[in-house]
């Protein structure tokens, strides 16, 4: 369908892009421009006319950035994989129920997301304390799982529901056991919803703060990167914070760039383009 886009749209998009991109731009300036042009002057330079890697090198030398980064990556992958491990069977089961029941179940699942994070995080941290899960990557991941699991189940359920019911029946009639029906027919067909669910879980867990802050508090050797970052900001180390924040954005940008074609509305609602 050929349609004419008015120039006003481009102007609007440009303005929005500037608004959203400016904070990132400030990070880039702080991280790569010598400090005498940024922190040393009243009106910091807005264009990276002089570029240096010294800030980044100094930041890495002064504080441990790698440890929190690795812990955050571990959390993100554990959350993402666990969400699929639990969400795929749950989504399959709920998709088989009639819509009347399954919709109620889904709403019930999202109750956790409706509560303020702190309300849930505090009792959880007490419980985790007795399970020796505080200050561990697994502890942070398990707490964060609460947030991503309802959405994962919802997306996976949508994926299963969009498949013709007879495909599964056909596989069974063709002699496939329940297991091989799942592995050979159903999972390949909902690979996009699975991928979307994983990316969303991964991205929300990567920079999750509330649960990480309460379950793994400010112990530099155990905290994840958002907590460490908070630590630097609160200790007034803007240079390290900026460098760290910039580096933290990189995995997200890579993820979104690679998978952006899947991150569309119809996939989030669980639809499947046949």
């Amino acid at each position: 369908m050929p349609s004419k886009t008015s120039p006003g749209i481009y102007v609007a998009v440009l303005i929005l892009a500037v608004i959203f991109f400016y904070p990132l731009w400030v990070l880039i300036i702080i991280a790569f421009v010598p400090t005498k042009y940024t922190f040393g002057v009243m009106y910091p330079i807005q264009l990276p006319l002089i570029i240096t890697l010294q800030n980044v090198i100094n930041s890495f030398r002064e504080v441990d950035l790698v440890g929190p980064m690795i812990r955050s990556l571990e959390v993100a992958f554990i959350v993402g994989l666990l969400a699929l491990g639990l969400g795929v069977p749950a989504g399959y089961g709920i998709a088989k129920l009639t819509a009347r029941i399954s919709n109620k179940l889904i709403a019930f699942l999202f109750i956790i997301n409706m509560m303020p994070g702190l309300v849930i995080a505090i009792p959880i941290s007490l419980y985790f304390y007795s399970l020796h899960l505080t200050n561990t990557v697994l502890g942070v991941a398990l707490a964060q799982e609460l947030v991503v699991l309802p959405l994962t189940v919802f997306i996976i359920m949508g994926g299963f529901r969009s498949l013709p019911r007879d495909l599964e029946n056909q596989a069974r009639v063709d002699g496939a056991s329940l297991g091989s029906t799942f592995v050979r027919v159903l999972i390949p067909l909902i690979r996009v919803p699975i991928l979307v669910a994983f990316i969303l879980s991964w991205m929300t867990s990567w920079d999750e703060f509330t649960y990480a802050f309460i379950v793994a508090p400010i112990v530099p050797t155990h905290s994840t990167f958002p907590v460490t970052l908070y630590n630097y900001v609160s200790r007034n180390l803007p240079l390290q914070s900026a460098t760290f924040a910039l580096i933290a954005t990189v995995p997200i940008i890579i993820m979104v760039a690679v998978f952006q074609k899947y991150l569309k509305g119809q996939y989030l609602s669980g639809g499947l383009v046949g």
């Binding site: 007879d166 029946n169 596989a171 009639v173 063709d174 002699g175 496939a176 027919v185 067909l189």
Partner: protein, 357 residues
């Protein structure tokens, strides 16, 4: 003939709806059985219950004498073609057809040989490497059929497999299907609502109504001697004519005859022409008849005023009948004809006897 499969008092309820209600049927080895019925009579449910996709509420299904009604679908050795083909969209045509063989753990060489063989028979050899979503409707239907035929199961279930094809392709596919079935000696249970399909394919036709079999027999038997006015109305290109009357003193009797059973040499019946249209090579005449009064040796009736007609005693009795004649009549003309044969039904619509003149 050997009994291949047998339904013994099968019930299937969905909540309060009785879809199959004390269903009994024997299917013979090597026969082409067509299940015919209006929509919502449990045709598809019957196949799904047979394949094990849905559980029975009560009763037994015997396959070669052994009860299979508790077996999961993959342990029943039944092939099924679904109405929407249910092809695996993530696979090529070859992988689709090979899937049941792979599940049966056949060797790679054997799978390749068998798939290519069936693809040759069904003329889809050139599209084997294509993804099934790229195939045309006719090719999809063949792939679905091939996926069933590549196996050697005890019985084949086909749920309106030709309904998505256009008319011309359907006729060709129909004759190929029949040929394959006869050549390989397979037992087919074929669900359709298309009567011409039933007529051309079936060894026997089972007419379903209210979750049970209303009548089973060859298509000709169903056409000529419907056991009830309901079957007479349902079977045939045009419904059977029913006119109420008396039969040897029994009031409330119904006379049934097909539009082609007209004998113009006789003049026992008189009617007023209401409509005359040209069919393929005959004229279809709609005319109004009075009440039939059957005496010994046949029945006759004149056209009479509507006010004199007795109230119809059966839903299928209409105030006018349609017949097929070779010449054109004007509207309002009087037409005289006789019947070469007719069926007599009681007031409940059950066949009493067939009379040939």
């Amino acid at each position: 003939m050997n009994v291949k499969m047998q339904y013994v008092n099968v019930y299937k309820y969905y909540r309060n709806t009785k879809v199959l209600n004390k269903f009994n049927l024997e299917i013979y080895d090597g026969e082409f059985l067509v299940i015919l019925g209006p929509s919502g009579t449990g045709k598809t449910t019957l196949l799904r219950v047979t394949a094990g996709i849905e559980d029975l509420t009560a009763g037994k299904i015997l396959m070669e004498g052994r009860d299979i009604s508790k077996n999961p679908p993959n342990k029943r050795d039944i092939a099924m073609v679904f109405q929407n083909y249910a092809l695996y969209p993530n696979m090529t045509a070859f992988q689709n057809i090979a899937f049941p063989l792979k599940m049966a753990k056949k060797s790679k060489g054997e799978i390749k040989r068998k798939v290519e063989e069936i693809a040759e028979t069904l003329k889809i050899a050139e599209v084997l490497q294509k993804n099934v979503t790229l195939l045309s409707g006719g090719q999809k239907q063949r792939v679905a059929l091939a996926r069933a035929l590549v196996r050697d199961p005890k019985i084949f279930l086909l749920d309106e497999p030709l309904s998505n094809l256009d008319a011309r392709v359907r006729v060709v596919a129909r004759s190929e299907l029949k040929k394959i079935q006869k050549e390989l000696g397979h037992t087919f249970v074929y669900v359709t609502h298309d009567q011409s399909e039933a007529g051309s394919l079936a060894d026997r036709v089972a007419v379903l109504r209210n979750g049970g079999i209303e009548q089973i027999g060859t298509y000709e038997e169903l056409l000529n001697e419907p056991k009830s006015t309901w079957v007479g109305d349902f079977i045939g290109d045009y419904p059977m004519n029913f006119t109420s009357g008396e039969y040897v003193g029994r009031s409330g009797t119904i006379i049934g005859f097909r539009d082609s059973w007209v004998n113009m040499d006789s003049d026992t019946l008189t009617g007023t022409v209401q409509l005359c249209t040209l069919g393929e090579d005959t004229y279809h005449v709609q005319c109004r008849l009075g009440n039939a009064a059957v005496a010994e040796g046949g029945f006759s009736l004149d056209d009479i005023d509507e006010s004199e007609m007795t109230q119809p005693t059966n839903n299928f009795v209409k105030s006018s009948v349609s017949i097929r004649v070779s010449e054109k009549y004007n509207i309002g003309a009087r037409i005289k004809f006789g019947l070469s044969k007719y069926n007599v039904y009681d007031s409940n619509g059950n066949l009493i006897e067939t009379v040939k003149n």
